[in-house]
């Protein structure tokens, strides 16, 4: 199981899912209609490091963070 958390304005509680790679995570999240408008704008961190590669192999307990568009300052 990996944990997926949704940051900032997505305002959705974390979920736990089975996933071997981020491809599996993407497939799972696309089933959730409430995320439809978010996914194409969101970046992804794996265990708090930003990632850019869907094929990374996940392991038990990994934390995946979904980061919507930002505006600090």
């Amino acid at each position: 199981m990996v944990k997926v958390e949704f940051l900032g304005p997505i305002a959705k509680p974390p979920i736990e899912i089975e996933a071997l790679t981020l491809i599996d995570v993407a497939a799972k999240l696309k089933e959730d209609a409430s995320l439809t408008t978010w996914l194409d704008k969101c970046a992804v961190a794996l265990n708090d490091t930003m990632v850019n590669d869907l094929s990374i192999t996940l392991k038990e307990g990994d934390k995946i963070s979904i980061l919507p568009p930002v505006c600090g300052g």
Partner: protein
């Protein structure tokens, strides 16, 4: 990297950073102070921060700065920050002015694009995500 609940005490932060580097022999110190503008009838802005990724983002900038002989500093607010008070201070110290002027520009601009901070307008006590002013981070869309 410093995070504070509510408005920043800008004078105290500016002065402390100056003192911290008082004998470091830097010739240029450039702070950037971001203050909440009164516009669109807002009472305040409000901020969420994802600290673990922010710290990594900041550490990566510190490495870049050190490679140039410089140092960066940053403070940001969490939660509500009323208009005409400040939510953000960053700074560069460098031996030379060109490095400092170029670095503060790059640092502030990358901050706007890649620091994991979410902004909300506060109107009549309600928090409204500033979607139109927000920018997808580098790598956005990976899961779409």
């Amino acid at each position: 990297m410093e995070l504070y609940e509510g408005s920043l005490d800008v004078k105290a932060i500016f002065s402390r950073w100056l003192d911290e580097e008082a004998t470091s022999n830097y010739g240029a110190y450039i702070p950037f102070v971001g203050t909440i503008r009164a516009e669109d009838g807002i009472e305040a802005l409000s901020f969420d921060i994802y600290e673990p990724v922010l710290l990594k983002w900041f550490d990566a900038w510190q490495e870049k700065a050190v490679a140039l002989g410089a140092v960066v500093k940053m403070a940001h607010s969490v939660g509500d920050v009323p208009v005409h008070t400040s939510s953000y201070v960053s700074a560069v110290f460098s031996p030379k002015r060109r490095v400092a002027l170029e670095l503060i520009d790059l640092f502030v601009e990358d901050f706007k694009t890649n620091a994991p901070i979410w902004k909300y307008d506060v109107k009549q006590g309600k928090r409204i995500y500033a979607a139109d002013r927000s920018t997808p981070m580098d790598g956005a869309g990976l899961l779409s």
